[in-house]
Symmetry: C2
């Protein structure tokens, strides 16, 4: 674990240990998948004592849940351009770049696969997406306030609609989405929202 200035997260030893352990856990997930995740192996890769890892994270699912919490905390803030089309294009581009990144794309596939078999991972994954959707929903709310989208549009549903085709492509075809797919995902969500498809969902 590096201790050179500028390469260490703030927060002292506890935060450095967490960063190293989560990095190692993410590497194993991306390279080998959830089935190969093992606390002793993660401790070795992170150069952290095995006892520390067992005491702090307890189980493999506890470790993945904490990794998802960290991913939500570390993820980028929304873009606000003043136009919902450009905001959602920025959102789609961010999701697309994440899924097309070899490490990040593999990591998301591994965590989504794990969530299919494990309810604690499923809850952690749901919280991760709730945080990301809540971060971007104001772009849609502002568009409604500006009169770009109909009153009553469900902002969260529009944000989810942008991500859906990008994840669907990756998960069902195994092929990462490209920049054109991202633009199309944003344009489709805006067109559907403008047509009133996402109005009155709670009714």
């Amino acid at each position: 674990m590096s201790t050179e200035p500028g390469t260490v997260r703030p927060g002292g030893r506890t935060a450095r240990v967490r960063a190293a352990v989560l990095r190692a856990a993410g590497d194993v997930l991306a390279e080998q998948g959830f089935a190969h995740l093992d606390l002793a192996d993660v401790a070795r890769r992170a150069e952290v004592g095995k006892t520390t890892v067992y005491r702090r994270w307890g189980t493999v699912t506890g470790l993945v849940a904490d990794l998802l919490t960290d991913m939500a905390e570390q993820s980028l803030p929304r873009t606000e351009t003043g136009s919902v089309r450009d905001d959602l294009r920025a959102n789609a581009a961010l999701v697309q770049r994440t899924l097309a990144d070899p490490r990040q794309g593999a990591l998301f596939r591994a965590v989504i696969a794990a969530a299919a078999c494990d309810s604690r991972t499923a809850s952690a994954l749901r919280r991760f997406y709730d945080v990301r959707v809540a971060e971007w929903a104001p772009c849609v709310e502002q568009a409604v306030a500006r009169g770009e989208l109909p009153v009553g549009t469900d902002a969260s549903e529009v944000v989810r609609a942008v991500s859906a085709p990008l994840y669907y492509a990756l998960l069902t075809t195994g092929v990462a989405p490209g920049a054109g797919d991202a633009d199309r995902a944003a344009e489709a969500a805006v067109a559907a929202a403008a047509a009133g498809v996402y109005v009155g969902l709670s009714a």
Copy 2:
């Protein structure tokens, strides 16, 4: 394995063995996931000789690939109502019912999870969706011919757009989509297609 009249698929013993084995494989996937799929266990559940199963399917991934081939063959034909909105609502309802069915929904989650870690399963899954998309694409092509959607609309992409939010919801939240989600998925795809979002994709 039942041999009562009317409970046996046509095609003789080979077809009956295949049906029993694929049924058992689907049960294991839905109940326990890909990691628990084992040829000897499937043979026992299907009341078929272990040697037959090993000789015919060879590996667990070979068995899942054949299951996906069978699912594509058995799946329902498209609905043609004369209106693209109603055709795609029927498509969305079919996908939604499949994903909301306890056995089928769990089976799809298990196979998608397996595809994340295994390239042969990923190829078989891709072929399954290719077959399903090709079955429904004519609904969109006919809508273009009738003047309901713009010339140059990519029919396959519109069909995929209907499924995307339904799968996305299930895979990222673990919650099966409902009938309202299905209608919204179809309406969103029609609105985006009508706005020209899916025109000129091969350009």
